[in-house]
């Protein structure tokens, strides 16, 4: 029998050991992550950009899916904690079978590493690695298939908290390809756990997963109606493959219906903020004027990303119930 996801992530004392998904983590723990990230935010302005917290620890960035931006933020975060970082990009084309996932992990474990940061194209990969890795190693999920991207969700929550202070009365709209989005799934879980008033997903029917309401959201297929009373707008990236797999006719039609323009933005509350996990497709899901406009916090998200990841890595690197 296997343990539930939340038990897998916490050690015997209820402290964070693996960070695989938001699901199963308490509001208190999520808040602790945000508070810890707060301490690291101040550092970027300081003369010292590094702290010796994780000195002597080895962190391996195991990226089975290409992503320069996420990989570099994790690298920077680890280096600012004075850890030794090893970044590996592993191609998994279907034609090259290569090493099994488990063998890759075992080989790296043999080199005495302390933490894996994993990005993989298949849902459940991070969970699998966490279940099979040596007991002293922590696993951070940098995105697995369509399942979860919890560090992104946390930096989004951090950004929201920075500006809006409290989640209780917030109405959040997530717009775009929810079906394929691991970011959206994690954001929805985080917002629900932190007590947001309403989470609204706005998308054409082809881009919504079955039974999406069971995630704890309300649904709208119309941007104009959906944006009423919204405090936070999260735009998701539209990938080009969606057009070729008969999910959408064209980018221009998508932009007409669901693209965030200045006029559409006015429908939301006057001080609504605009977020995007990046990279943005200008003119497809979001208009340049909005992306660069005064309500956009996209760049803030990026700079918060390092502090939040530093917090998560140092919390997960904690002792497992005190040195045994």
């Amino acid at each position: 029998m296997t343990e539930a996801i939340d038990n897998l992530q916490l050690n015997a004392e209820g402290k964070l050991k693996h960070f695989i998904t938001i699901e199963g983590l308490s509001k208190a723990l999520l808040t602790e992550i945000l508070d810890t990230a707060e301490s690291f935010v101040g550092m970027t302005d300081q003369q010292i950009k590094k702290v010796p917290l994780l000195r002597g620890k080895t962190i391996v960035n195991l990226f089975f899916e290409n992503s320069t931006r996420t990989r570099t933020t994790f690298e920077l975060a680890a280096k600012r904690l004075s850890a030794d970082v090893l970044s590996m990009s592993i191609s998994t084309s279907s034609t090259s079978k290569g090493e099994s996932l488990l063998d890759t992990i075992r080989n790296l474990e043999a080199m005495f590493v302390d933490m894996f940061v994993v990005r993989h194209g298949i849902s459940g990969a991070a969970h699998f690695i966490a279940r099979h890795t040596a007991p002293h190693i922590s696993v951070i999920n940098a995105g697995d298939g369509q399942h979860a991207h919890p560090t992104q969700a946390m930096l989004d929550m951090f950004t929201i908290r920075q500006i809006k202070k409290d989640f209780a009365d917030l109405r959040v709209a997530i717009i775009g390809d929810i079906l394929h989005s691991r970011v959206a799934r994690s954001q929805i879980q985080a917002l629900n756990t932190l007590g947001a008033a309403e989470i609204r997903v706005i998308a054409p029917k082809t881009l919504l997963p079955a039974h999406v309401e069971t995630l704890g959201v309300s649904v709208s297929h119309n941007l104009t109606e959906g944006l009423q009373d919204i405090d936070v707008i999260i735009m998701l990236r539209l990938q080009k493959e969606r057009m070729t797999s008969a999910l959408l006719p064209s980018e221009s039609e998508y932009f007409k219906c669901f693209g965030l323009t200045e006029s559409k933005l006015k429908i939301a509350k006057p001080n609504a903020i605009v977020m995007h996990p990046g990279p943005i497709n200008r003119g497809v899901e979001i208009d340049s004027k909005v992306a660069d406009g005064p309500q956009s916090v996209i760049l803030k998200q990026v700079s918060n990303g390092i502090a939040v990841r530093m917090a998560i890595m140092s919390m997960a690197m904690q002792p497992q119930g005190g040195m045994q």
Binding site: T36, Q46, I48, V51
Partner: protein
């Protein structure tokens, strides 16, 4: 048990003596959070130092991360000026094992290379574990393993002697 004002007076006197003996030139005063900052504020005023007080948070430099992990509420250190070549007066409330001061020194040296550092503490108690010693003290005392000395403040500043479970320094 000596009163807080006696201790502060003692410390001030020691500091003045040491300032001359060690030929401190335009010293930068830094207090270690939290208790050390309260004491430093007192000394800062008494010695009429014009340069703003530096505040040091050593949470990220502690040597016991492996035992107790990262602390969730850390205010950033605030050292308003360059350390390079400066004379530093480092102030803490209680000197016990010496690890706090070691962490503080590590952090200071990450900022830059000071000319010299003198350490001033309100109370030095027994139980040293690192070969570091304060240069100025308000008083020295010997306590038992289950006794702890605690400073509360900032207004009013007060000292408490507690008897409790074995201490975590």
């Amino acid at each position: 048990m000596l009163t807080i004002s006696t201790l502060l007076n003692n410390l001030e006197a020691e500091l003045r003596k040491t300032q001359i003996a060690r030929k401190l030139a335009n010293p930068l005063m830094i207090g270690i959070r939290t208790g050390g900052v309260w004491i430093a504020e007192q000394m800062h005023e008494r010695l009429a130092i014009s340069e703003p007080l530096g505040l040091l948070d050593i949470s990220f430099y502690r040597d016991d991360f492996s035992q107790i992990g990262v602390h969730p509420h850390v205010k950033p250190s605030c050292v308003p000026t360059h350390i390079e070549g400066r004379d530093i007066i480092l102030i803490d409330d209680v000197f016990y094992t010496g690890r706090t001061v070691r962490a503080a020194l590590n952090e200071i040296f990450d900022y830059g290379r000071p000319n010299q550092v003198i350490l001033a503490v309100l109370i030095e108690r027994d139980g040293k574990q690192i070969p570091i010693a304060p240069d100025c003290v308000g008083t020295r005392m010997v306590l038992t393993a289950d006794q702890r000395i605690k400073l509360t403040g900032p207004k009013p500043l007060a000292i408490h002697l507690e008897t409790s479970a074995p201490d975590k320094p």
